[in-house]
C-alpha cells in the first residue's frame, strides 16, 4: 500500500486511482432475521482483505452490499467515497464479484460468458477480446472449455470460469466469494497467486471471502472474522497464528474430539 496507488486499465492503459471501501455501522435484517449487526471496517485502496467466518454468518450478504445488490437496513457502505448502491458509482468504478454459486450465464458458452463484459462496454475489438479471454482461460487451465456451456462443467470448473470472467473485466475492485472452496490444493494455490499478483501488477483492491487458511495467511494484508453478523476480529494475519480470543482460536483450529463430539454436545 505504499505511495500513490493507481489501478491501470490494461485495455485503455488509463490509470485510475485505486479505490477503497468503507463499511460504517452496517446492519441488515431480512424480516425478523438479523444477519449483519453493526459491522464497521475499511479496506484501503490496493489492499487484500480476507473475510472469514462460519457458514451462515453473513459473509455473502456483506459482499452483496459492497456491490450494491443489497441495501443496508442501517448504516452505510461506500466505494471510493460514494454510496455503493448508486448507479453513478457503478458507472465510475469497475467492480467484479465472483459469486459463490458462479452465476454464469447458462444460455451462453464459456467463451461468450467471458466476452460479454468487454463486448457490452466496447473495450476492445473482437481480436483484442479474444486474446484477453483466451489468456484468462489459459491461466485457469480452462483452454478446452471455451465452447462448452455452463451446464456441461464440473463444480470446480464453473468456479474457475466465474473467476476468469471477473479477471477479463479487469476491475478496480475485485470481490471473491469463496473462490477456492471447490478446488484441489494446487488450483487453490494458483488462485491465491493470481489474487496476489493482480494486486502487485494492477493495484486491484481485493476482498476475499474464504475458509482457506493458507490463502488468508499467505496473501492477506488484513483479515476480518465475521461471526453471527458481528466482526469479532480485525487485524493482520500474523495475529491469527496465536489468537488471543479463544473463540477465534477454536474457529481457526478446531480440534476433532472423538471422545466428546460437538454434535453430541448439542443434544444434551
Amino acid at each position: 500500500m505504499a505511495g500513490t496507488s493507481h489501478t491501470r486499465n490494461p485495455f485503455t492503459q488509463v490509470e485510475t486511482p485505486a479505490v477503497g471501501v468503507t463499511v460504517e455501522h452496517l446492519s441488515k435484517n431480512f424480516g425478523s432475521l438479523k444477519v449483519l449487526k453493526d459491522v464497521s471496517f475499511a479496506v484501503q485502496p490496493g489492499e487484500i482483505f480476507v473475510l472469514m467466518g462460519p457458514s451462515g454468518s453473513g459473509k455473502s450478504v456483506l459482499l452483496k452490499h459492497i456491490v450494491g445488490l443489497e441495501l443496508p437496513t442501517a448504516g452505510r457502505v461506500a466505494v471510493d467515497g460514494h454510496d455503493a448502491a448508486s448507479e453513478e458509482t457503478r458507472e465510475r468504478v469497475r467492480m467484479a464479484l465472483v459469486f459463490q454459486s458462479g452465476a454464469l450465464f447458462n444460455s451462453l458458452s464459456v467463451y461468450d460468458n467471458l466476452a460479454l463484459y468487454p463486448r457490452e462496454h466496447r473495450l476492445a475489438d473482437e481480436a483484442g477480446i479474444r486474446q484477453k479471454v483466451m489468456h484468462a482461460l489459459k491461466i485457469l487451465s480452462l483452454e478446452g472449455t471455451a465452447k462448452k456451456f455452463p451446464a456441461d462443467l464440473s463444480g470446480g470448473m464453473k468456479k474457475r470460469v466465474a473467476i476468469a470472467r471477473a479477471l477479463v473485466m479487469e476491475p478496480q475492485l475485485m470481490l471473491y466469494d469463496e473462490p477456492t472452496s471447490e478446488l484441489d490444493p494446487v488450483m487453490s494455490a494458483t488462485i491465491s497467486e493470481i489474487i496476489a499478483s493482480l494486486r502487485v501488477e494492477y493495484r486491484v483492491t481485493t476482498i476475499v471471502v474464504s475458509h482457506d487458511r493458507d490463502l488468508a495467511l499467505n496473501i492477506a494484508d488484513r483479515v476480518g472474522i465475521l461471526m453471527d453478523g458481528k466482526l469479532i476480529f480485525l487485524g493482520p494475519p500474523s495475529e491469527l497464528k496465536q489468537p488471543k480470543d479463544p473463540i477465534v482460536a477454536d474457529f481457526l483450529t478446531p480440534k476433532i474430539d472423538l471422545q466428546h463430539p460437538r454434535f453430541k454436545q448439542l443434544e444434551t
Binding site: 450494491g68 457503478r90 458507472e91 467484479a96 459469486f99 454459486s101 452465476a103 450465464f105 444460455s107 457490452e120
Partner: protein, 250 residues
C-alpha cells in the same frame, strides 16, 4: 388491501421498466443479433399455431353466420361478416392470446430463472442493465412481429371462411362471390385498426412478462409461479385493454 398494493406495485414497476427500456432504444443497432433472435422466437415459433387457429376460427365464423343467416336468405353477406370480425376483433385478440401463451410464458420462465440463479445480479454488477440487454430487444421484436402475425391470421381466417362457405350445403357460395363481398365491406382502415390492436396487446404482453420474470424472488419453485402469473395477468390485460382500445379506435 394486500392485493391492491400488489397490483399498484406491479403497475409501477412495469411502467419503470418501460421507461428504462425506451431509454435504451438507441442501442438497438448494436444489439441487432439479439433483436433478430427475438424476432425469430416470436414469429417463427408462433406462426404455425396462429395459422391453424385462424383457419378454424374463420371457418366457424362462416358456419355460424351461415346457420343464422339462412333464415333471412342473406348468405351472400357472409364474406363481410367474416372479413370484419376477423380483421377488427378476433384476429388481433387471438394472436395476442397465443403470444401470451407461447412467447410470454417462455420470456417469464427464462428471465425468472436468470433472476433465481443470480445471472441478473451478475449483469447488474457488470454494469449491464437488464432492461437494455434482456428487455429492449424483446420489446422491439414484438413491435415488428406481432402485427405480421395478426395480418397472417386475418388472411388465413378469411381463407378458412371461404372454404366453409363453398362446401357447406346451407351456404354454397363461390369463393369469388365471398371475396368480392369481403373486399367491399372490409376496408384497409379496419385491417389497420386490428393491426394496431395486435401491436398494443403484443407489446404489453411482452413488457408484463419481462417485468414479472425479472421480479421473481426466492428459489426455483418461484419460476413456475412467475410463469403462471405472467400468463394469467397477460390474458386479463388483453381482454380489458381490448375493450378500451376498441372504444378509442372506433
Amino acid at each position: 388491501m394486500k392485493q391492491i398494493t400488489a397490483i399498484l406495485e406491479g403497475f409501477g414497476s412495469t411502467l419503470q421498466l418501460l421507461i428504462r427500456s425506451i431509454g435504451y432504444a438507441g442501442t438497438l443497432p448494436r444489439q441487432w443479433g439479439r433483436f433478430i433472435e427475438q424476432c425469430y422466437m416470436i414469429g417463427y415459433t408462433t406462426l404455425p399455431i396462429v395459422a391453424i387457429l385462424s383457419f378454424f376460427i374463420g371457418s366457424v365464423l362462416a358456419l355460424q353466420a351461415g346457420y343464422s343467416m339462412q333464415n333471412f336468405g342473406t348468405q351472400q353477406f357472409i364474406g363481410s361478416l367474416v372479413g370484419l370480425s376477423m380483421a377488427r376483433e378476433l384476429g388481433p385478440v387471438m394472436v395476442a392470446i397465443l403470444v401470451a401463451g407461447r412467447v410470454g410464458s417462455a420470456i417469464a420462465a427464462e428471465l425468472a430463472s436468470m433472476k433465481v440463479y443470480q445471472e441478473v445480479d451478475a449483469l447488474v454488477t457488470m454494469n449491464i442493465p437488464p432492461a437494455r440487454m434482456l428487455v429492449m430487444p424483446r420489446l422491439a421484436a414484438s413491435l415488428v412481429m406481432v402485427p405480421v402475425l395478426a395480418l397472417i391470421g386475418d388472411l388465413v381466417g378469411w381463407f378458412g371462411g371461404a372454404i366453409v362457405s363453398k362446401y357447406t350445403a346451407i351456404i354454397s357460395i363461390e369463393p369469388e362471390a365471398y371475396f368480392a363481398v369481403l373486399r367491399h365491406y372490409t376496408h384497409f382502415k379496419d385491417v389497420l385498426n386490428g393491426l394496431v390492436k395486435a401491436e398494443i396487446f403484443g407489446f404489453v404482453v411482452v413488457l408484463v412478462c419481462c417485468n414479472i420474470g425479472l421480479n421473481t424472488r426466492g428459489g426455483p419453485r418461484e419460476i413456475g409461479a412467475s410463469v403462471t402469473r405472467a400468463v394469467v395477468v397477460s390474458l386479463i390485460l388483453i381482454l380489458v385493454l381490448d375493450y378500451f382500445v376498441t372504444q378509442i379506435l372506433t
